[in-house]
Each structure stands twice: as C-alpha cells, then as structure tokens.
C-alpha cells in the first residue's frame, strides 16, 4: 500500500483560543457540531436510505464525539474527519444490525377498538404503492442492494465529490480497494437500473 498523502486532519493546536479552552465542553461541542449536523444527516441518509436510520446514525456519532470535544477543537478540517467517523459508525451499525433481529410485536386483532391491535404495516396502500413505483424508489432500492462499503463510496465519491485519493486517506483504505468498490457499485447500479428511465436509448447489457 502506498503511503497516503499528508493527512487532511492536521492539527492546529495554536489556533485553539484560550477562550475556547476555558469554555464548558457542551458549548464548544454545540458551536463545532451544530453547523455540521445537517451535512452529517445528509451523508447518513445517503449511506442508509432511511430518515430514521440516518437520524440514529448521526445521534450515535454525536454521542460518541461529545467526550472528545477537546480533540475536536484541534481538528483543522472537521467535515472530512466527521465523515470518516460517520462511515465507520455506519459500517459497524450494519454489522451489529445483522446480528440483531427485529421482533415484530403487532399481533392479530383482539378488539376492533384498540389501535394497538393493528395488523403489521407490511403491505402497501395505494399511495405507498404509487410512491414505490417511482424512479426515486427504484434508485433507493438499487442502492439498497449494494453492500455498505460500496454504498458509502458511491455516496462519498459520486455524490459528495470526495476524490478517491482523499477517501484513501479519510477511510484509511487502499486506493485499489476503493476503485474496485466503486467499479462494482457502479456496475451493479447500472445492471439494476435499466437505461430507459434515465435516457432515451435502449438498455445495454453489462
């Protein structure tokens, strides 16, 4: 593995003002993270495809980071550093989730009056069905078929615009591995998303 370029997370201890050092961590944490929460949510949503999962992911990252507020104060380029933390949290959470089943607790109706007796909301109503049939839903489903690492490289490179060389440093992953993930992810997306909805041509076999 080639040596990564100079870290984008270079520390600038001298730039941390005495005023900030003296403030309570909670205030510094809010100042640092509030401008980043929306970005983290957006990236988390691109990783997960779900608002609920994205919010969980961001919440978990914030909880993990608060005890490291002093360290955060010294990070020059906070956004890519946060993206890296989010990425690792995402991959870890997918692995953890794979080990923990969902227990469906809605039961058959015992009383028509009791809303808690509702049948599981597993079947689409007409509105949901129409939404699912849309292009947005098709793309989300296709992204959902990628593995977490492939999905993350698509989100960070193709959407957020990080170069593969930047990602090599950020994610501490060899460039060749990233290229391979990106290649397979794009190939799979093309296979899952026929040409017709995207441009006026006929489908090309991969």
């Amino acid at each position: 593995m080639a040596m990564p370029p100079v870290s984008p997370f270079r520390r600038i201890r001298a730039a941390v003002s005495p005023y900030r050092r003296a403030r309570p961590d909670a205030l510094n944490f809010e100042d640092l993270l509030r401008p980043q929460v929306e970005y983290l949510y957006r990236l988390a949503w691109r990783f997960t495809g779900s608002v609920a999962d994205a919010e969980d992911l961001v919440q978990d990252v914030l909880i993990k980071l608060f005890p490291r507020t002093r360290e955060l104060l010294e990070i020059e380029r906070l956004r890519p550093w946060l993206a890296r933390v989010l990425y690792h949290q995402f991959v870890d959470s997918v692995r953890q989730r794979a080990r923990s089943p969902i227990l469906e607790l809605a039961t058959g109706a015992e009383s028509e009056d009791n809303p808690l007796d509702a049948l599981p909301a597993m079947e689409d109503g007409p509105e949901e069905h129409a939404e699912r049939s849309g292009q947005r839903e098709r793309i989300l489903r296709a992204l959902d078929r990628l593995n977490p690492e492939q999905r993350a490289v698509v989100a960070m490179h193709d959407v957020e615009g990080y170069s593969l060389e930047e990602l090599e440093t950020m994610l501490e992953t060899p460039l060749g591995t990233l290229k391979s993930r990106l290649h397979r992810a794009r190939q799979r997306l093309r296979a899952l998303l026929p040409m017709e909805p995207f441009s006026a041509g006929e489908r090309v076999r991969e």
Binding site: G49, A98, S111, L116, D117
Partner: protein, 212 residues
C-alpha cells in the same frame, strides 16, 4: 480500442481521470461504437440520478434534540431509541430479517425468543405497529434477572412516555445479559385505558458465536 478495453476505462472516463493519450483513444472508440456510446450515456445518467436523490428535510426538532442528547448521554448513559419507521426503512428492515432467517412473527408465536451472549451488549429491536398516531403512550419494561438495559444497570423496571406514529414504530433496546436467566422480558404498551403486553424469552448463548 475494443469494447472490452472501453469498459475498463469507463470509471476513469466518468471521473475525468484519463490522460491525454487514453482520452484520445476512448473518444475515437466512442466515435465509431454506438453500443459504447449508449453504455457511456447510461453510466452518466445513472450517476446523475443517484446524485439528484435528495434526502427528506431534516426533522425540525432533530438538531436541538440530538445535540442535547449527546451532551446529556455522557452523564446519564444512552437511552433506548424509539422512533417511527416508515416506507423504505421498514421494508429494508424486514427484508434483512427474512434474509437472515430470524424474522419473527407473532401471528403464530405469542412469545418470541432472542439469544444473547453473556457480557456482550446487543441491540434488540422491537417493532410496534399502530393503526393511528397515539399521543403519550406509555411503554413499560420489566427486565428478567441478569438482564440489563445498557446505561440502566441494576434497574429491573423502567417506563417511558412516548408518541407513536401510525404504522411501524421501532424501539431499539441495548441489552446485555450477565448470567443465566429463566424469566421473560415483558414490554407493556398502554394508551388511554387499553394496553398490550409482549413477552420476550431471552436465552443465553454460553458458547458465544462462532467466527466472531
């Protein structure tokens, strides 16, 4: 250049990473190969479609709530997560359960079972479905002997008041088992005089999971 060679250059072409010589060669091939032109157009269109996919707006209260929770969690430990699950999130979760062969349905099994390893925290995910939104429903948990909710060590009975949205509401309970247990975890959800009780049997995997 042949079509196979073009396919190998496609990623670099999309990323603008071709050097002058390869760029020239690729453009010459595209000029005479309609199949590869379509392949290129398709690749650009798919990438553009993924780029244009935008997340739903951030929930208005989320930012304040998330920052406040992060700073409080350092003092009080993590709270169980409780949130509604809609649309794709629910579908994806269910697909995952089915794929693992561990999806449980209460239609035929009133008491469900989960297997935990001693001293290894695991998130148990409970899904509650509601026919309509419920304001201020109360969820009570009774934990069996030797089972702890992470952050609430030593407490066997806990309850929260929460709003439920229509449809799936997912609760994530970080549990850790400290030893053998024979009792069941009991979760009761009550609202406006009516209530439902769910039971969860917890088995202890002494051997741990292979390959972990």
């Amino acid at each position: 250049m042949e079509c196979q060679d073009f396919a190998l250059q496609l990623d670099d072409l999309l990323d603008g990473q071709l050097d002058v010589a390869r760029q020239k060669s690729v453009q010459e091939h595209l000029g005479r190969c309609p199949d590869c032109r379509r392949r290129h157009e398709h690749a650009k269109a798919v990438r553009e479609a993924v780029r244009k996919l935008s997340p739903p707006a951030l929930h208005p209260g989320f930012m304040d709530q998330a920052l406040a929770r992060a700073t409080r969690a350092a003092v009080g430990g993590p709270r169980p997560k409780w949130r509604p699950v809609l649309g794709m999130a629910l579908a994806a979760s269910l697909v995952l359960g089915v794929a693992l062969g561990v999806f449980f349905s209460t239609q035929s099994a009133p008491v469900q079972t989960v297997v935990l390893t001693i001293d290894r925290p695991e998130t148990v995910r409970l899904m509650f479905n509601s026919a309509r939104p419920l304001k201020a429903a109360t969820l009570s948990l009774a934990l069996p002997e030797n089972v702890e909710l992470v952050g609430y060590g030593g407490r066997r009975e806990l309850s929260w008041q929460t709003d439920l949205r229509e449809g799936g509401n997912l609760m994530q309970l970080p549990l850790v088992v400290r030893g053998a247990t024979k009792e069941e975890l009991v979760a009761s959800l009550s609202h406006d005089g009516s209530s439902k009780t769910f039971r969860l049997k917890i088995e202890v995997d002494n051997a741990g999971r292979p390959g972990m």
